[in-house]
Symmetry: C2
Subunit: 315 residues, 2 copies
């Protein structure tokens, strides 16, 4: 219990002392104490985290979607036909209602135009350049500053206790890998996300490249999350954190294993410091998973009550 | 250089002192010596290994194929129709020539019958049970004893020097993960291989399961290897070892990065202790990649000359 006691004092300073923090400390103490009934060997201490709304903010629109919209605007001079071609015309006019009406088909067209047709290395550079310049519309800060300080502390605390931390997100894996190591300390090989198909080709200089194709391989969301976990990690997590209905099956899959399990949800309850949304939000809806958390005793973090600091950049 | 000198004396005892061993030691010394021009930070020391023919034997047939054939025989009593249904009738008669004539279609039917229609956990148990009982037809030993001792030493030596070791194989990921950690010290999340589709379902006891479907997702061989590396690892390796033309693109992808690179091939030249085969073998053909190794100065391990011990089980 020594490690847990120390962490209680030092490791999670942005967490107020309440049920959520206590549940985390109790779980970690249980699985890391040699001889305890719940002891789990370090190699099996797999912890998975959703990204959007769990590790960083997702309002008013997903960050990767903000990137895609900005890319459409940046690429528009090369595509004069977009001025009169849906759904690009709507984006260029800033008419998000018309864009939303283009539905899944419109979204796929935007993803194809902004996330395919370049090499993996070119795409990574575009994302890095964008992250360096882009600012959140409300907080006026780089997105990488709008990661949740309590979750950074939790990631570090778990790693100090022999956990291997993974992202398991509906976001694109090539997008997240650009910042995950720098911001979260999670290396590329521990980022699981939605994937598109790649083609191995010979580049102009005779060197091989991997070309991003406009064809989706895995949508790592909802039932796709346990599939992504099995495909990429190959072990069932003992610790899982999400914030929306897209994380429900990941939490169910985690919960169904033997031995001690931790399932957590971030509930966005703080309109003042961040946003307040749940059952009716079009971004990050938390409805069925919130009901299941209540029924099954999963840990629900009330952002307003449980966190004394929200963003890493907060004073 | 202290670590490399030590390893020269202690770390690779089954490697004879020759060009291959020297190339390995020189490379590791170069990338791990702080201040050297070739220094690579530990997190970027990614080493990838093919499995069949590189870490364990692949003759006279791939081990996973031996598993599939044995499964057909074990399942035959439940499928009386197989006695008169190609390609199963050929397998049950032991007529491998007739089975080979059924081609890709026949192979897919066998994979569907033996690798799909069960949960991931049921499949893992079947593989583990089979590995415990099966014996190699020539060496009369469990397959897990027929891993190459020099490669086990190389894996351990790289890990001691801050490398993260991965399998990148055409074999099925769910098959390899059953033994990779125990035999190679490579955990499930560092095994990249061919993948089939999975479905998240509710099992008979109300708990979620992942069902293996008879649909292939990624064939992690030839050009599929760099794709698998990017999808699962997300970093370019600096060290790659294979043994066949199926590894050629993985070695090209590794070679095309900046800074020091190590590309190695195991050349099976020892008919007495193992097998001798290369340009005309139907299993593990080494032809184009051998030519490219010559042209580009990749390291070719001559099994007969470079290894003083072959299998981990050799005295």
């Amino acid at each position: 219990m020594a490690a847990a006691t120390l962490a209680q004092a030092q490791g999670l300073p942005s967490w107020n002392d309440g049920a959520a923090k206590q549940a985390i400390l109790r779980f970690v103490a249980d699985v890391t104490t040699p001889g305890s009934a719940g002891f789990v060997p370090p190699g099996e201490r797999i912890a998975v985290f959703d990204n959007d709304g769990t590790l960083w903010l997702e309002q008013p629109i997903y960050v990767q979607f903000a990137f895609a919209l900005d890319r459409v605007k940046a690429l528009a001079p090369k595509h004069p036909e977009w001025k009169t071609t849906p759904p690009f015309d709507a984006i260029l006019r800033g008419d998000m209602k018309a864009f939303a009406a283009s539905g899944e088909k419109g979204l796929m067209q935007v993803l194809a135009a902004t996330h395919a047709g370049m090499t993996t290395e070119e795409f990574s550079r575009e994302v890095a350049d964008w992250l360096a310049k882009a600012r959140h519309p409300r907080f006026k800060q780089p997105y990488e500053a709008l990661v949740y300080q309590p979750m950074l502390e939790l990631l570090a605390y778990l790693r100090e206790n022999g956990f291997k931390t993974f992202i398991v997100s509906g976001g694109g894996v090539e997008f997240m890998r650009v910042f995950a190591e720098k911001v979260y300390g999670i290396p590329p090989e521990q980022v699981v996300g939605s994937t598109g198909q790649l083609a191995f080709k010979t580049g102009a200089d005779g060197k091989p490249v991997l070309l991003k194709l406009a064809k989706i391989d895995l949508v790592d969301d909802h039932a796709g999350k346990p599939v992504g976990i099995q495909r990429f990690i190959g072990r069932r997590p003992i610790f899982a954190f999400g914030n929306s209905d897209g994380d429900q099956q990941m939490l169910e899959w985690t919960a169904a294993g033997a031995g001690p399990r931790f399932m957590g949800l971030v509930h966005h309850t703080d309109a003042e410091r961040e946003y307040a949304y749940d059952r009716t939000s079009s971004v990050g809806r938390l409805d069925k998973a919130l009901d299941e958390a209540g029924t099954r005793g999963w840990t629900v973090v009330d952002m307003k009550r449980d966190w004394n600091k929200v963003f890493a950049s907060d004073k």
